[in-house]
C-alpha cells in the first residue's frame, strides 16, 4: 500500500515544540536507553525516522508517543543533541490536535496569542455573566444558603452542563483516537475479547501511572520525584473534579467545615498545590531534562491550574472566616479561571489524562494481537503463507 508523504511535516511540528529532527543520524542510542522500548514498540528512533520521512499519516496511527513519559534519558544520551524526548513530547501535542475534530487544539498549539486571548475572553465572559446573575438573583453580602450571591445549586447545574459538553468533545476525540490507532493503524485482525481481557489496564494506568515509575528502571540514581508529584497532582485533580461535579452543594454549604466532604478536598489540595508549585519551579529552574524546554501550552497549563488552586483556597478561607464579600469576589475569580480551563480541556495538554490510559490499553491489545498472530504463524508456517 502506498503511503502519503508530507515533506513539510517536520516544519509543521516545530510549532508544536519539536527541535531539529533532521539532526538525528539514527545511531539507536535513544531506543537503547529507553526503558519502555521493546520488541513491539521501538521508539524514539523509529518515530524520528518516520518524522524525517514525513510519514504524517503513519504517525497519526502510532501509539508510541503516548508510551513515552519523557524521563529525558534519550535526550541526555543523544550524540547529535537532536532532543528525541522533546520530539516525542511535541508528537503528543500534535496527536492531541489530530484527535481533535474541531481543529481548535491545533490553533491553540500553533499560536500562543489565540490561546491566551480565548482564555481571557472566556474568563471575562464568565465574570460578566456571573456578576449579572449574582446581582439579579442574590445578595453580594451572602455567600451560602438562602439568597446567596451564587447559589450552589445554580453552580451545580452550571458545572454539569459544562461537564457534559466536555464529555461529548472528549468522547468523540477518544473515538477518533481509537479509529486512527486500532482500525487504521492495526493492520492485523484484533479479536473483540482482547478489549475485555485488557480492560483492567484502563483504571490501573489511570490511578497508578505505573509506567511513569518504570522510566527509572535503568537510571542510577533513580529520580522518582516527577512521578510521585505527577501522581499526586493527578489524583488531587480527579478528587477535586468529583467533589465539584457531584458534591458541590455540600462542599459550599455553611461556614462550618463539613469534614466528611472537606477532608477529601484538603487532601486533593495538598496534591494540587505541591504539584503545581513543583512543576512551575522545575520548569523555571530547568532541573531535569524534561523540564528544560517548555512549550507555551505547558506554561498555560501549570499557571492556570495554579491560579485555580490559589483562588479556590482563598474563597474557602474567606467563606469559613465570614468574609463573605471577599469570598464572593475570589469565587468569581476562581470560576473565571475554571471555566476557560474546563472548556480548554479537550483541546489542550490536559486531554492526556484520557488519551494516555487509553493508549496503554490499546497498546496492550495491539501487542496481544501481534504476538498471538506471530505464534500462529510459527505453528502453521506453511498453511498461512
Amino acid at each position: 500500500m502506498s503511503i502519503r508523504v508530507n515533506p513539510r511535516f517536520i516544519n509543521d511540528l516545530v510549532l508544536f515544540g519539536a527541535e531539529d529532527v533532521q539532526l538525528c543520524y539514527h545511531c539507536g542510542d535513544c531506543s537503547t536507553v529507553c526503558p519502555h522500548a521493546d520488541e513491539v514498540y521501538k521508539f524514539p528512533r523509529k518515530s524520528m525516522r518516520q518524522l524525517q520521512m514525513g510519514l504524517e499519516r503513519k504517525i497519526e496511527t502510532t501509539l508510541e508517543p503516548w508510551l513515552c513519559y519523557y524521563c529525558g534519558q534519550c535526550s541526555e544520551q543523544c550524540p547529535r543533541e537532536a532532543a528525541p524526548g522533546e520530539t516525542m513530547m511535541s508528537l503528543r501535542r500534535w496527536l492531541i490536535s489530530r484527535y481533535d475534530f474541531t481543529g481548535i487544539a491545533k490553533q491553540f498549539f500553533k499560536s500562543r496569542m489565540t490561546e491566551v486571548i480565548t482564555i481571557i475572553c472566556f474568563a471575562l465572559l464568565t465574570g460578566v455573566f456571573l456578576l449579572y446573575y449574582g446581582y439579579s438573583m442574590g445578595n453580594f453580602h451572602i455567600y451560602d444558603g438562602e439568597g446567596a450571591f451564587l447559589s450552589s445549586s445554580f453552580i451545580h447545574e452550571f458545572d454539569l452542563t459544562l461537564g457534559s459538553l466536555l464529555l461529548i468533545f472528549l468522547a468523540i476525540n477518544a473515538f477518533r483516537m481509537w479509529y486512527f490507532t486500532m482500525i487504521k493503524g492495526t493492520k492485523i485482525p484484533v479479536p473483540w475479547w482482547l478489549y475485555l481481557k485488557e480492560l483492567y489496564l484502563l483504571p490501573w494506568h489511570f490511578f497508578t501511572q505505573k509506567r511513569y515509575s518504570e522510566c527509572e528502571s535503568k537510571r542510577d540514581p533513580k529520580i522518582f520525584m516527577p512521578w510521585i508529584i505527577h501522581l499526586g497532582l493527578m489524583l488531587g485533580y480527579v478528587i477535586m473534579l468529583v467533589l465539584v461535579m457531584v458534591f458541590i452543594e455540600r462542599l459550599q454549604s455553611g461556614p462550618a467545615i463539613q469534614w466528611q466532604v472537606h477532608i477529601f478536598g484538603y487532601i486533593a489540595t495538598i496534591g494540587l498545590v505541591t504539584g503545581t508549585i513543583y512543576f512551575i519551579r522545575s520548569r523555571l529552574n530547568k532541573t531535569y531534562e524534561q523540564y528544560k524546554k517548555s512549550h507555551g501550552t505547558d506554561w498555560v497549563f501549570v499557571v492556570l491550574l495554579f491560579f485555580i488552586v490559589l483562588t479556590g483556597i482563598a474563597q474557602h478561607i474567606f467563606h469559613r472566616t465570614g468574609l463573605y464579600e471577599l469570598a464572593n469576589i475570589t469565587y468569581i475569580a476562581h470560576l473565571m479561571c475554571v471555566v476557560p480551563w474546563l472548556l480548554r480541556m479537550p483541546f489542550s495538554k490536559w486531554a492526556h489524562l484520557v488519551y494516555r490510559p487509553l493508549a496503554m490499553y490499546f497498546a496492550a491489545i495491539r501487542r496481544d494481537a501481534i504476538t498471538s498472530r506471530e505464534s500462529l504463524l510459527k505453528s502453521n508456517s506453511v498453511s498461512i503463507k
Partner: protein, 609 residues
Amino acid sequence: MRTGVFFCQVENGKNLNVDAIAKYTANLPGVEFVQILGTAARIEVNVLTDLIKMKSLERVVIAGDMPGYFKPVFTKAMALAGGNTDEIQLASFKERGASGEFAQDRAKAVIACASMAVPFSLVAIPAGNPVNHSTLVIGAGIAGIQAALEIANAGKQVYLVEQTGTIGGHMAMFDKTFPTLDCAACILTPKMVSVGQHEMIHLLTNSNVTEVTGKPGSYRAKIHQRARRIDVKSCVSCGLCVDVCPVKVESEFDAKISLRKAVYIPFPQAVPNAFLIDEKNCTYVLSGGKKCGVCVNKCPKECINLDEIDKIIDIEVGNIVLATGYELLDVGKIEQYGYGVYPDVLTSLEFERLTNASGFTGGKIVTKTKRFNKRTQQEEWFFSPDGVPPRNVAIIHCVGSRNKKYNAYCSRVCCMYSLKFAHLIKEKIPNANCYEFYIDMRAFGKGYEEFAERIKQEGTFVVRGHSAFVTMNNGQMVVRGEDIINDKMVEFQVDMVILAVGLIPASGNEELSRILGITRDSDGWFSELDYNGSPTDTEKGCIYVAGMCQGPKDIPDTVAQAAAVAAGVLRTITSGKGVGHLSSLSLNEIETRAKNIHTLSGGHYVNQS
C-alpha cells in the same frame, strides 16, 4: 562588473567584525550591493532572484565560513534571474585561514580577491627568504619517520625530535594494518632502523622543542633533551638492570595494561636500541641520589649514569615539520560504557597491544584474571597469558566520535580497525562470536569496502545501531542495542567489550602552536593553509604539517602526506627560497596584486582558463 556580496553564516568572533568587513566590502570597486544574511541555514531562492534582478547584479560573491554550502541556491537564483552562473564566487574564510589574530584582514583580502574573480592562492604568495638546508622534524611516528627519511635520502640534514625514549609512535604498537592485514612492525621497523643508522638524521629522543625564533628559512630552535641516564652508545640492551630494578609502573607502550620497571626499553625493537631511566618513577632520582641505585652496579658495561643532567640543544634549521600525532580520548568520562568499572572493557589501543604477537600475552586474546595484590591488600584484574579467551566480544564504534558532547568529527580510522579486530578475534578464536555495533560503516579507502564485506562474510555479526551502554548482570556483561536494519532490539551477553575510542590531538599541540605561532582549528588539530590546495603548508612559512596532527587519517594517508611535506621542504632547499609567512603580506599588497591581475586579464581571469 556589478557585484553583490552576501555574507552567509558568519558570526562576529573575537577577531572578526562582520559589520566592519561589510563596510569595507561596500567600498570595493564594482561592489553594488552587500547583505549580511546572518546565520540562517535556509535562503529562499525567489527572494534572491528578485534581489539579483532588482540590483541587476552580474557577479555574486558568497562570503562566509562555508560558502560552498550556499552555492547551489545562488546558482539557481542567478540562473532564474538570467545571469551568468559562472560568476558565482566563493570567499571562504575558514579555508583561507581567516581566524586567529589576522582574521579581519584576511577576510577582507579574501573578499577583495573574490569580488575581482581572482583566485586568492594566485595572489597571496609571500616573498621568499634564503633557506638553511637542515630541517627540524617534530615527532617521530610514522609521519615524522617518513618525512625525515625522504629528506635525508635527498642528502639533507634532518633533526628528528621525539619526546619518548624511542621512535615509532603509535604504529609501532599495532599488530596488523588494514585492509591488507600486513604486519605493522614489518613495515615500520626497517624504516626505524634506517632512521637510526642514517648519517643525515640526527635523532633526539626524550626531547621537546621549547622555543623557536627566527624567520622562515632560518629558524633557531631550542630543544630540551631530558637526561636518558644511560649511554646510548655503550648500552647493549642486555637487560640486567631491569632484573634488579625494584620499581614497577604501567607501561605506556603497552597502553598501560602491563607493567614495566623504572629502567626500561619501550619495546625490543626500539630505536635507539638502548635502555632509559624513567626519571618520574626511579627511586634514585626521586630521592635525590640517597636511595637505591642498584642498577648502576649491575650494569656490566658501566653505561648507567643516574646523575646525568638535562641538556639544552640549540639548532638552526630552514624548515620545520610538525608530526606530533594524536591521543585517545579519555574514555573514562563516557561513563555508560563502564570503562574502568568492568574489567573487560578495553580501549582500541589496549586491545591492539593485547592481540599483538610481540605483546606480553604473546598475541593471545584473553579476558582479565583476578589476583590479590599483597601490597595494596586489594583484588585487582590483570591480563595473564593463561587467561580464559573470550567467547563473545562486542566492538562498539564511534565512542566519543561524531558526538556533540565529545568530538563532533569522525575519527576516520575506527570503522576499519574495528573490522580488523573482528578478523583478528575470529582468526585467533575461531568459535568466538563477534558483534560490531556501528552507526555508519565508513569504508572509504582503496580496498576498504572489500575488506568490510570480507569481514561480514567471516561471520561477524554486524549490527547497524550504536549500543548506548554496557551493564553487568550477575557477573556477565550485557550489551544492548537496536538492530535498525532487522528492526529488533538486541541484547548480547559478552565477555569482552572493545571501544573504538575517538582520537584527539596530542596534548603537546597547544604548547607547540604557541611556540610556533601556528593556528589550530576548533577541534585542536593544526590548521593547514588551504584544505584542498596546500594541505601540508601552514599559515607560517616553512612550517609544515604531516599526519594525524593535522586531522585524523590512516597510515597510507599519513605516509603520503609526510612524503608530500618532504617534497615541499626539498623544493625550498633546491630553489633556495623559503616561503614567508602569509601574514607578512598586508591587505594593501593583496588588493593591489589582485587589481593588477584583474586588469591584466581583462576582468575575466577565471573564465579565460
